[in-house]
């Protein structure tokens, strides 16, 4: 079991497979990092659940080329993203921009968390709060219990003796009756 687990863990560390086979030469390591981040975060529109890095579709190749050329021309990551969004819409972004139409997307989970936490806290508080019973009702209830209890137990004891059952279990049953 242990070696298998270890193998799985090592598998997780290996970088995901890439379809990108083009050997692009970059002017700086920073540019290469920018490029890799961009093709990781941009969606391929042909095979829609893949990013540009993972897709071998022709359009993905073209868009990788476009990304590379724009970076080589000294354009920023944001400019590349804007270029893609202007043509294909927000759908190309695996990491949607924060703007008025995506507030719900970004803040929704936190909103949901706040709502759920509020409900949970309220319930817990309600459960912890001592129950209000007015004194009259309490004393009359106590009186009733004191009156009834001895008689009831006596009855039970008698029946137990008759049936000859284990007294222990009956004692446990008592509060329910």
């Amino acid at each position: 079991m242990r070696p298998l687990l270890l193998l799985l863990l090592i598998g997780c560390l290996i970088a995901p497979a890439r379809a990108a086979i083009e050997a692009y030469q970059f002017d700086s390591p920073q540019m290469e990092a920018d490029y890799n981040q961009l093709i990781d975060e941009l969606r391929c529109l042909v095979c829609q659940n893949q990013n540009l890095a993972g897709s071998d579709a022709e359009l993905a190749q073209d868009l990788r080329r476009e990304t590379y050329e724009m970076l080589q021309q000294g354009k920023s990551q944001q400019e590349v993203v804007d270029f893609m969004v202007a043509r294909y819409g927000d759908f190309v972004l695996y990491r949607p921009q924060v703007k008025s139409s995506t507030y719900l997307l970004w803040l929704g989970p936190f909103l949901l968390l706040v709502v759920v936490l509020t409900i949970v806290v309220r319930r817990l508080r309600a459960a912890a709060r001592p129950v209000d019973v007015d004194d009259d009702a309490l004393s009359s209830a106590r009186q009733l219990l004191e009156e009834d209890e001895p008689e009831e137990t006596d009855d039970k004891r008698e029946s137990e003796d008759k049936s000859g059952e284990d007294a222990g279990t009956k004692d446990q049953d008592e509060p329910d009756k």
Binding site: L45, Q48, D62, E66, A86, R87, Y88, G89
Partner: protein, 174 residues
């Protein structure tokens, strides 16, 4: 009762939303270019690569740009419909020959007929990227003001021509 009403309401809401989601076609990505100026191009014509057609040449008239390629199977399916549209002589239908070999494209037109006023060559697909093309065929309707008014993704059928494209064209031409 109230104990069950809330989960039931949530369940019904979820089923409603998921049911709606199932009916959407994820392959149809709305174009951000609608009602924006059509991206400019100046491309060589397939029939005569020495001559060029640019978006500027089309300014002032309503026209249709149909993205096609000889390697595209759905293009053959919609070819008949595009021919039908071009035959009505309502608008100029321009072809954008997308990532194709000119000789293949010419052979394709010879074989099936050429509905296009002209086809322009987008060999490396750059103009396609500018127009947000991500699958062939795609069909754009461009107004006299040079704005993209409508985009059809996938093959145009007789039904989508009558119900989607013709109304847009009629409004633009009236």
């Amino acid at each position: 009762m109230i104990r069950f009403a809330l989960p039931l309401a949530v369940f019904v809401l979820m089923v409603g939303l998921l049911g709606y989601g199932l009916r959407l076609d994820p392959k149809k990505v709305p174009s951000p270019l609608i009602d924006k100026q059509a991206p400019a191009f100046s491309l060589a014509m397939l029939e005569d690569p020495a001559r060029k057609l640019s978006t500027g040449d089309m300014m002032g008239q309503v026209w249709v740009l149909n993205v096609w390629a000889s390697w595209c199977v759905s293009c053959r399916a919609e070819h008949e419909v595009i021919t039908n549209l071009a035959g009505r002589n309502l608008v100029t239908v321009v072809g954008l020959n997308y990532k194709d070999k000119p000789e293949d494209a010419k052979r394709w037109l010879q074989q099936f007929g050429n509905p296009y006023a002209t086809s322009v060559i987008d060999g490396d697909g750059r103009v396609g990227i500018d127009w947000g093309v991500y699958g062939v065929p795609e069909t754009f309707v461009i107004g006299a003001d040079g704005e993209i008014k409508y985009k059809h993704i996938g093959p145009v059928t007789h039904e989508s021509l009558e119900k989607k494209i013709m109304p847009v064209l009629k409004e633009l031409l009236s």
